[in-house]
Amino acid sequence: MAAKWIETLTGSLEQKKQYKQITARLKALPEPYGTAAQAVKRYLLYAGGVFDGDIMMQMFSDFADLWEQAAADGTPVRGIVGDDPVEFAEAFAQAYGGKHWIDKERARLNQSIDDAERGEKK
């Protein structure tokens, strides 16, 4: 489902290949890392708001690094995501700033307030 969505989103074959590789890396993670990584990845796809294909690939590639590292070091899952997994996922997505769905709306809000302010000055 998410994979289908991503295909409509990212045109390039190269990106599709990268995404497949990343998916495979996450699938190869030992438990409980696989389950945890899958859960956070799902949230990132739905709520991360990153829509630039290249940046998304960069994000998921770093994401796979993080979990492979955790599995290699035996870091507890909690040690990675902390007390608040949602908070963690959002901070993680935020790090890849500048290309989010919401950016257009943010720009629009700023513009509208600027327009309103200009009305005040007349």
Partner: protein, 126 residues
């Protein structure tokens, strides 16, 4: 660490991570360990990782990948010139805030002790 402290820390963690890195280049897990040694015991490794990703995206650090015996190559982070500038700004901001917040606290302390001396029979619980 309480919820309030966690919230407060969020705004300054990037500066703290830069300050730790300014001492010497380090791997991600070394930074988390250093934070824990300094009493930031609740900091999740993933949170630190997200900050490292962010400062890398902002171009505040230089990153070198070093092959590792286990797991993927590990990244060594070094603060560069832009990072040093950003850290200087962080210290300025921190000093500004800390001074004013301390001022408020002192005012509050004075106010409550004044209340102690004027209001007999009221018990102040701090």
């Amino acid at each position: 660490m309480g919820k309030q402290q966690t919230e407060m820390l969020k705004g300054i963690l990037e500066g703290i991570v830069l300050a730790i890195l300014a001492r010497r280049p380090a791997y991600g897990y070394e930074i988390t360990a250093s934070l824990r040694d300094r009493g930031f015991t609740d900091t999740a490794e993933g949170t630190v990782y997200a900050i490292l990703v962010r400062i890398e995206q902002k171009g505040l650090v230089d990153v070198e990948k070093v092959p590792s015996e286990k797991g993927p190559p590990r990244k060594v982070y070094t603060v560069n010139a832009a990072g040093t500038t950003s850290l200087d700004e962080f210290w300025q901001g921190w000093t500004f805030l800390a001074d004013r917040v301390a001022q408020l606290r002192d005012d509050h302390a004075r106010h409550t002790t004044d209340a102690d001396t004027t209001d007999t029979h009221t018990t102040q619980e701090n």
